[in-house]
């Protein structure tokens, strides 16, 4: 009986946690490698369209040869203020002129970069990150403006759908 009593008094031995930092560092390095930094906080809701055979834009981003335009319903505020309820986000702002502002925005961006860093005008990609429901008319308005300014490369953003065969298209 006395044996058991002794053990009770000792308490549980401490767990060795010296390898915990190693495990956490491993996780940390995994996330550092597998993720990319967020460009900006989105102000519009974008449900990405899906497609297969898409091109990865990471190499273009590393060379900063791509500008993103976000189109979708605004997250805050009244959607009806905007044309067709779709707000257009340039860098950090929702511009009241909507898609018609794209020309000025592109030109400003192009001028701001130092001359030795800029790629030729026609190589800078304008990527449309549009919500599923965005009407194509808006994108074509933007295309017209970009064509007049000789920004000839564009990209339609889409998410790789992998092995799925069904596209998510709104039924009407």
């Amino acid at each position: 009986m006395s044996k058991f009593k002794k053990n009770d008094e000792k308490g549980a031995p401490a767990i060795n946690t010296s390898s915990l930092p190693d495990i956490v560092f491993m996780l940390l390095f995994f996330f550092m490698v597998a993720t990319t930094t967020k460009e900006i906080d989105p102000l519009v809701r974008v449900n990405a369209a899906q497609g297969s055979g898409v091109t990865d834009l990471t190499p273009f981003k590393q060379r900063s040869e791509v500008d993103f335009v976000y189109l979708g319903e605004p997250m805050k505020g009244d959607a009806s203020k905007f044309e067709k309820g779709i707000a257009v986000q340039y860098d950090g702002i929702l511009h009241p002129d909507g898609i018609n502002h794209i020309g000025k925005w592109k030109l400003d961006k192009f001028k701001d970069k130092p001359a030795e860093l800029t790629a030729p005008k026609e190589n800078i990609i304008t990527c449309f990150k549009a919500d599923e429901k965005v009407p194509m008319g808006m994108i074509f308005t933007a295309r017209g403006i970009l064509q007049d300014l000789d920004f000839n490369s564009i990209a339609y953003s889409a998410q790789e759908m992998g092995n799925k065969t069904e596209y998510s298209i709104r039924e009407q």
Binding site: V24, T35, A49, D131, V134, P135, Q147, N152, A155, S157
Partner: protein, 267 residues
């Protein structure tokens, strides 16, 4: 003297620091990659010359209406059946390939180039250039013609290079080339959903990429997608390996060109 023992550093807070860093990275980064379909807008044209109409057989017309119903040539495709577009587009490219007789008159014809043909064309242009330059008076008109001849020489020598590459890897003497005018014409309405438009883009891209992959696999033993990925990641380097990749990719792109005309919606 007895050696003093180095006191052990307490590493208990290391885990906390690592967790902090980990959480910082979790918050500021995203998992999803930016992926997109790259397209080019045609350069704006100054002159308003009436262009000669393209023959019906060279156009593959796809129209998407505001209810996301698709019309590809004469067939109507419901939104849930979009994936049938893939085989239809492949058919458009392949139906007359390698055919010199019994061609389907509704689809683009193929031309067959050979080293001799391109060499002859190149020689003809060179002779023309020589004749033009040896003229005594070089007026504006002649200058224009010289410019034209120089352009043509460049084009034909590029083609000759490609033909040689094709002959070297395929062992064939003739290279099938789809009609220059053949293209896919994508029409949409103002109210067409972005998702439907992208789905059609996806099908077009998939069909052409699959054709290219197959051809590249046969010729070079490496898929077009793999070559393109390597090339894009290391585009700033200038190594002999990359240059051969570029040449191979150009050949594949001439064999299966992706000509997509996106028409501005009218309604």
């Amino acid at each position: 003297m007895a050696k003093r023992e180095v006191p052990e550093i307490n590493a208990g807070s290391m885990a906390d620091i690592a967790f902090l860093l980990l959480i910082f990275f979790l918050v500021t980064t995203t998992m999803d990659k930016d992926t997109a379909y790259l397209r080019t807008i045609p350069k704006k044209v100054e002159t308003q010359q009436p262009q000669s109409p393209v023959q019906e057989k060279n156009i593959y017309k796809i129209a998407i209406n505001s209810k996301q119903v698709i019309q590809a040539r004469d067939s109507i495709i419901k939104p849930e059946d979009i994936s049938t577009l893939n085989s239809k587009i492949k058919h458009f490219y392949l139906v007359n390939r390698d055919k010199k007789v019994n061609r389907n008159i509704d689809y683009p014809y193929y031309a067959f180039g050979s080293i001799e043909l391109y060499q002859n064309n190149l020689n003809a242009q060179n002779n023309r250039l020589g004749a033009l330059e040896s003229q005594e008076v070089i007026d504006e008109k002649t200058e224009k013609m010289i410019e034209q001849a120089l352009g043509a020489i460049e084009q034909w020598s590029e083609k000759l290079e490609m033909m040689k590459l094709y002959a070297q890897f395929s062992g064939k003497k003739e290279m099938p080339e789809i009609a220059f005018e053949a293209h896919i014409r994508l029409e949409s309405f103002i109210d067409t959903d972005y998702s439907a438009y992208v789905a059609v883009q996806s099908e077009v891209q998939k069909a052409v990429t699959e054709l290219r992959d197959k051809e590249a696999e046969e010729l070079f033993g490496m898929s077009y997608t793999a070559m393109n990925r390597t090339y894009q990641q290391r585009i700033t380097e200038d190594t002999p390996e990359l240059r051969t990749f570029k040449k191979h990719m150009e050949l594949i792109e001439t064999l299966f060109p992706l000509k997509l005309i996106e028409v501005k919606p009218k309604r």
